[in-house]
Structures are given as C-alpha cells and as structure tokens.
Symmetry: C2
Subunit: 336 residues, 2 copies
C-alpha cells in the first residue's frame, strides 16, 4: 500500500561521507557547498550541562514560542508549534489529511513527495500553481529549493481559499524565507486560511544540527500538532539557543544583509566561470551547464562538494562559502 | 472526534516553574525529585560547535544505531530506530494501528493513554495482562512507572503472540529497563513477535534534555518508522553523546551498580520516615501515606519537589537525590 520508494532514503546535500567515497584522494578538509546552510552560524551561547540533563521546562518553551511568533510574524504564540526539525511536521501534517491527491509545485525538495506518498497520498508534481487548488493536500516551497522561484502571497492565498472551500490543506515550506522576501510569507494568515507554514531555524541561523523548526498553523491545528509532539518536543540546547537567537534582532538584521552581499558575490563568481544561473536564494545558487557532471567531478577532486540532481544532470547547486580562503578555493577550482 | 483531554497537556514531573509557584518562599535551589532521571549524568564528551552547525551525517547515525542494537540487545541494527524522544515514537506507532481498542496496563505513565486517544483509539486501562491480548493496541510499561511492577518476558510474549494472531500490536515501554531486570526485555524478540520496544536514553544516562530514544521493532516496521522520522531524526549532540555513552560499558556497569546502591539507600530513608513502599525501580520509589499531601507540602516548603498523583492522593514518588548534601536535605526534611 505504501509506495516502496517512500521508505528508501533520498539523496540529500551534506553527506560528506559520500563525498569522501566518491573522491578518495581529495584534499581535506572538504569544503561542503552541497547544503544550503548559512556558513556563519549564530554564535552559540554557553550551553550548560544541565540543559542536557533536565527535561526542557514548559515556561522556557512558552517563551521560545512567543519569540518565534514575533520573529516569524505569526498572529499569536497559539499559532506556533516548535518541533525537532521540519521533517516530523511534514509527516504529521500529511497524516492529518485523509489519503487523497497531493499536488506539489515542483521540481522541489524531494522529501515532501516522499512523505506525502508515505502517508498514503497519490502524489503529482505540478509546474504551475493553479492545479494546487484541486488537490486534497497542496505543497509549495517558497522560495523554492533548488530554483529559488518565489510565489506571491496573494496567489498562494487564493489556493488556500480553494483549500478552505474543499476542506483541504495548503502547506507552504518557508525554509528559505528568513533571508528572502519576507513580505510574501503566509505566517500572518494561518489563522484564517487553510494554510500551514513551515519555518526552519537551522538554515538561516547556520545550526542545522540543532534540529529546530516551527509550524505556524490555525490555533486548533497547532494544538493538535503540539499534542502529537508531546510535552518535550525539542532538546534543552535547542530551547536555549533558539530563545537567544530568535530574539537577537541585531544579528538577524546584519545576517540578512551579509547573506545578501555573499549571494551577489557567489552569483558573480559563478557567472564569471561561464555558468548559467537558473535561480537562487540568499543561501544557494542553482546553475545549468552541459558540463555540469565534469564540473562536479573537477570540484570534487579539489575537495569541494556541491549538490547535483539525478533528474536534472545539467544542474548544480552551490551553497555559500564562509571564510575568505573558501571563496578563493572555489574560485580557483572553477577556473582550473 | 478527538477526545479533548488528549489535546490538553498532562501534569508531569520536572516542572520546577510549577514548584516555584506552589512554594514561593522555598529555599533555592530546589531539589527536584519529581522526575526519575539519574542525578549523575554521563560525563558529556566535548560537543563541538560544528555538531550544532552541520546536519547529522548518515554514517554516524548508522554507527549509533549499531551501538544501540548491542546495548539494547536488539536482533540487528535494522531493528533499531533512533528518535528525538519516546513521545514521537508513541504518536507514530499509535497512528499506524487502525483506530480500535487500545488497552493499557495501569495505572501507568499517562502519556500512553493520551497519545492512543489522540490517534482515535478507544482507551481502556486494565489491571491485569490477560485482557491485553484482545486489544488492537496493547501497551505495557515494564518495569512500570510509577509502581515498579515487572511483567515477565514469557507472559508478555504470550500477549505478543495473541497480537500476531489478530494483527494487532504490543508496545512495551522499557524506559526503566537499563538499571532493571534486563533479562525481561523483549528487545531480542522484536523481529518475530508483534511487539515494539521503546528504550529511553535520557533516564539512565541522566540526559533527559538531550531528547534521544529508540524503538526496537521488526525490520519492516522499523523501516516505516525511520521513513516517517526522515533523514535527520536526532540532533548532532544527541548523535555524538549517544555514540560515546552507549559504547561505554565501564560507565554503564558502574552506573547499574551505583543506582542499585542508591535505590537501597532511598528505600531505607523512606521506610525510616514511616512511609510505606508501594513499589520501586532503581530510579524512583513510590510510597503510600494517608499524610501524603501534607508531606508534599512540607517537602515543598523545604525546597524539595516530589511527584504527586491527582488520581491517587495517598501516593508520592521520589526520584534519587544526587550529591550527599541532597540526601541529607531530604532526610532532614522528612524528619521535620
């Protein structure tokens, strides 16, 4: 009943073990540009051993939820659900919609299709927004990964309106919204529209290993998700670091700006190397080249790991280098 | 359709904010004996910032899974699923059984009933094992929290056999098995019997804030749980610390012994205070007294927080004190 492919793990960025097996002689350390995570993480406040020892307390969790409501412009903290990563939220949400037809605006982050199929939905990938209104479960990544496509808020609200009429649900994965066009976020509309917004903490704050994400949803649905996750949904460190970071507006503003500058620099570097830019967000650029596989190999042998795509052999996705030496290393390897 | 009480949070131990509101003048720091977590945590190996920054890699996750298979005596690592706490495993498992009749051996840890009801099951608490064989979803906590009751492996396997015949599922929550009668664990039987075992890392290793648990299940069911949790189920620190701790047999053996000694000491201390011992595990003692509420108040005013039970007003549960000064503080307060 469950399509077998939904049980098999998918290929994702960030698997340096795989990189080392592909390029055994490459110079270490590998420069991992295969993910789309901010290379300059939020400076971790001191994590005390007791944050590992004790169960995260309810009051701190409420505080974090309040900060997240402000940072992500949710109507109120009753609309915010902290979770140990977006993946489990996707699984829970897909399971709350009776098995039917799931439509995903794509090509996009492949976990959405896998998880929807696992929950028993028949999954279609569509290229335009319109057919999403007829699905039982509609999924949009906005801005999209890997091509950076941005859907306008009003178009998405129209889909959510259709979902309301048919009793369906629209999920908008805003994992790359923090540094992006925040005015297009649907966070403020989750109470009235049939839409759930997913926000990822780890990408913008450069702390993917912390496992922290949030669902923004109507009060009732948020309560249901919270009940499914139970009283201790996230770790002590995620609670402590999340609270500090989501409230640190200076860091957030500076980071939005510096990621913007870095994205411009990456675009120029890739264009100078003769690569066609297909799309981008502040955290990655997608390029197209008939020589993509050779470039992947050349970079790999130089210890630089980028993201390629099984279905799109002419595509490569580049995350942001961090230190100046990493930028130079990428530039040199692309010119070689 | 969902019973409303399954959405409301339950009362649990460890909520020191609640304790401070109940006993505003109490001396700080509070001595929290309301949980059942080892007060001497596993010494945390150095957690590098990059463990927070990068996505946990697949190879480390496989390594952890292998160590857990050995530590928990699972048939193989294909039977082991790491998760960010037992709660989400309970939610996923309850959702995999078509809504029907869930029977729980009780009284026990209240989250099981809440989660089963949330998944749409009609929940009954039963006092003996026999009726569990007729349920669609049968749940046993072994050793049981809060009364320490131990079910024999062969009795449980008989229930699992009945579950196999009727296509149901037995969940055995072995959160307190690490320091307990490990010979009664069903870990070795998950491939053949219709049983899933839950193991909690945080209690025995004293690291509840890390959020790390494991399901032991038949290969196919384990694959399904793994697929639901996705490629990055646990945090970087949980991966690093879990790998170190589950492989540290010296620490594990010494801790089993020292928890055993501490439990004997706690039993004597409580008995000397005139309290009737109802049951225990190495990590907590449950006592009965007609004066339980007054003792709860007296300890609270002395800054010692123990666990009471709404349904059983004569019960109190005591976790283990850690430092010598904490033992003395408890002894003094009980005598006052």
């Amino acid at each position: 009943m469950i399509p077998p492919h939904s049980l098999a793990p998918l290929v994702h960025g960030g698997d340096l073990d795989a990189a080392r097996k592909l390029f055994p002689g490459a110079p270490e350390p590998f420069l991992d540009l295969s993910t789309a995570v901010n290379p300059h993480p939020y400076p971790i406040p001191e994590v005390w051993p007791e944050q590992f020892a004790h169960l995260p307390d309810a009051e701190s969790l409420n505080l974090l939820t309040g900060y997240a409501a402000t940072a992500y412009a949710a109507p109120s903290e009753a609309n915010v659900v902290p979770a140990p990563g977006s993946q489990i939220l996707m699984t829970l949400l897909a399971g709350l919609v009776s098995p039917g037809h799931a439509a995903i605006l794509g090509p996009t982050y492949a976990e959405h299709a896998r998880v929807a199929a696992l929950a028993g939905h028949e999954v279609t990938t569509v290229k335009e927004l319109a057919p999403l209104g007829d699905a039982d479960l509609a999924i949009v990544v906005n801005p999209n990964n890997p091509d950076g496509r941005i859907c306008g808020k009003h178009e998405l609200l129209r889909i959510a309106e259709q979902q309301r009429a048919r009793g369906g649900l629209l999920i908008v994965d805003e994992a790359f919204m923090d540094a992006g066009p925040r005015g297009e976020s649907l966070g403020l509309h989750v109470e009235d529209a049939h839409v759930v917004v997913l926000r990822s903490f780890g990408k913008f704050f450069g702390l993917a290993g912390l496992r922290l994400s949030f669902a923004l949803a109507a009060t009732e649905l948020a309560a249901r998700l919270r009940a499914s996750l139970g009283p201790w949904p996230i770790s002590g460190p995620a609670l402590t670091i999340g609270k500090a970071a989501l409230w640190d507006w200076d860091w957030i503003d500076e980071t939005r700006m510096s990621l913007g500058h870095a994205a411009v620099r990456l675009k120029k570097l890739l264009a100078d190397a003769g690569l066609e830019i297909v799309g981008y967000t502040e955290l990655f650029h997608l390029v197209r080249s008939p020589d993509a596989q050779q470039i992947f190999e050349r970079l790999g042998r130089a210890g630089i790991f980028v993201r390629r795509f099984e279905q799109e052999p002419e595509w490569l996705r580049f995350g942001l280098p961090g230190a100046e030496a990493q930028w130079l290393r990428l530039e040199t390897a692309l010119r070689a």
